[in-house]
């Protein structure tokens, strides 16, 4: 199950991450903002939190289920959450890859009449993927580790966990969400700070 989980999530993360990376380098300001927000939000939220919040919160409380079978349901949620979470890292890896391409190449692409989409497909992304292989590799490794944890603890026990929550429904959920909120409030500014720091320290060429 770990392998299945890893493979599906890696695929999802790659697709979502590429889309978010395109947002982050696009000439449209709103898309850039959305891309940046996505990365800041998901990079700074602990995976466990997302996992529990989706499986228990969304699925159980709001009734957003994918399958009647608790186990299948948990598996699908795990794939979604792992994809969404690691996409933030894939995006950053790709963006660092894009940054290794001299800006002149994008201009040259535009000046021979390629549209933004064509420049991305033909010139920027192929080089960005090559430049991003190392950080993409470490993201993949992290993803596999995380899926293992998710598979062993999360998915398998989600059904059991739910039963526990049902039993002492009162009290525990609000506490959990307050804790979650606190965590986001703590980590988000830290992430924003690091982003601005890395921007200030980036090598200008």
């Amino acid at each position: 199950m770990t392998i299945q989980l890893s493979a599906l999530s890696a695929l999802g993360a790659l697709v979502i991450g590429t889309i978010v990376a395109i947002f982050r380098v696009s000439p449209v300001r709103v898309l850039r903002f959305l891309g940046t927000s996505y990365v800041n939000l998901f990079r700074n939220t602990p995976l466990t939190l997302l996992m529990v919040a989706s499986i228990l919160g969304l699925s159980f409380i709001l009734g957003l289920s994918w399958s009647d079978q608790a186990k299948t349901n948990a598996f699908i949620w795990a794939v979604i959450v792992l994809s969404i979470y690691h996409a933030a890292f894939v995006c950053e890896a790709l963006r660092s890859g894009v940054n290794t391409i001299p800006a002149g190449q994008a201009e040259a692409a535009r000046s021979i009449g390629l549209t933004f989409g064509q420049s991305l497909r033909e010139v920027l992304l192929p080089q960005a993927f090559r430049g991003a292989i190392a950080p993409l590799g470490s993201t993949l490794i992290a993803l596999i580790k995380n899926s293992t944890v998710a598979a062993v603890i999360g998915v398998a026990d989600a059904a059991g966990l739910m039963a526990v929550i049902v039993e002492n429904e009162t009290g525990s959920l609000p506490v959990f969400f307050i804790f979650a909120l606190g965590f986001v409030i703590l980590t988000l500014p830290l992430g924003v700070w690091f982003t601005s720091l890395s921007r200030r320290l980036a090598v200008k060429r």
């Binding site: 190449q105 040259a108 000046s111 009449g113 090559r130």
Partner: protein, 246 residues
Amino acid sequence: MSEPLVVLTDVNKHFGPLHVLRDINLTIGKGEVVVLIGPSGSGKSTLCRTINRLETFESGSITIDGKPLPEEGKELANLRADVGMVFQSFNLFAHKTILENVTLGPIKVRKVPKAQADKRAMELLERVGVAHQAEKHPAQLSGGQQQRVAIARSLAMDPKVMLFDEPTSALDPEMINEVLDVMVQLAKSGMTMIVVTHEMGFARKAADRVVFLADGQIVEEATPEEFFSNPKSDRAKDFLSKILTH
């Protein structure tokens, strides 16, 4: 003058508080070769870049062959294809072969079949003297060779006008002439060209007109002979005395 091809009317551009282009009025005729010259920071690159809209401008108008520059989008991409640009730093696509660099535009933008694009590209590479390097990657070529490939890449789009922004200033001295020779040939073949360069030899040999830019304004326009031997404005005299003593 021949039929006008590129017409700039009262073009103004700012970078924040900096007024980089001031009321630029410039008409370039079909087949004309114009050399843009001026001190560093006078706005030569910016002027080139606004002509194919790599930079926006705030007021005035620029038309190419009678058509005004469209807003960003597909239409603009098509217009850019009609305006070739050669950069100081070559900017070849590092992951593609020399041949692929030249055929990318024709195949993707002009929708030319690959076999035909390859054939045309080889002819152009032959013309600039790098046909035997077609299967290599840009990093394996010398600067002079890369710049000649960049010229072939622009030519492959059959542009109406070519812009050159200091095409030889990043090159080792012994490679400058091989690039200038290609440009002189191109000028002789009737291509409309706007060339930012301090190479007076090229200006004398190939240019119909020299346009002297200082602080974002066109200060003087004259034939190369007249401009280099008998500049009118003090700015131009001062500038020429500096580059001549070097």
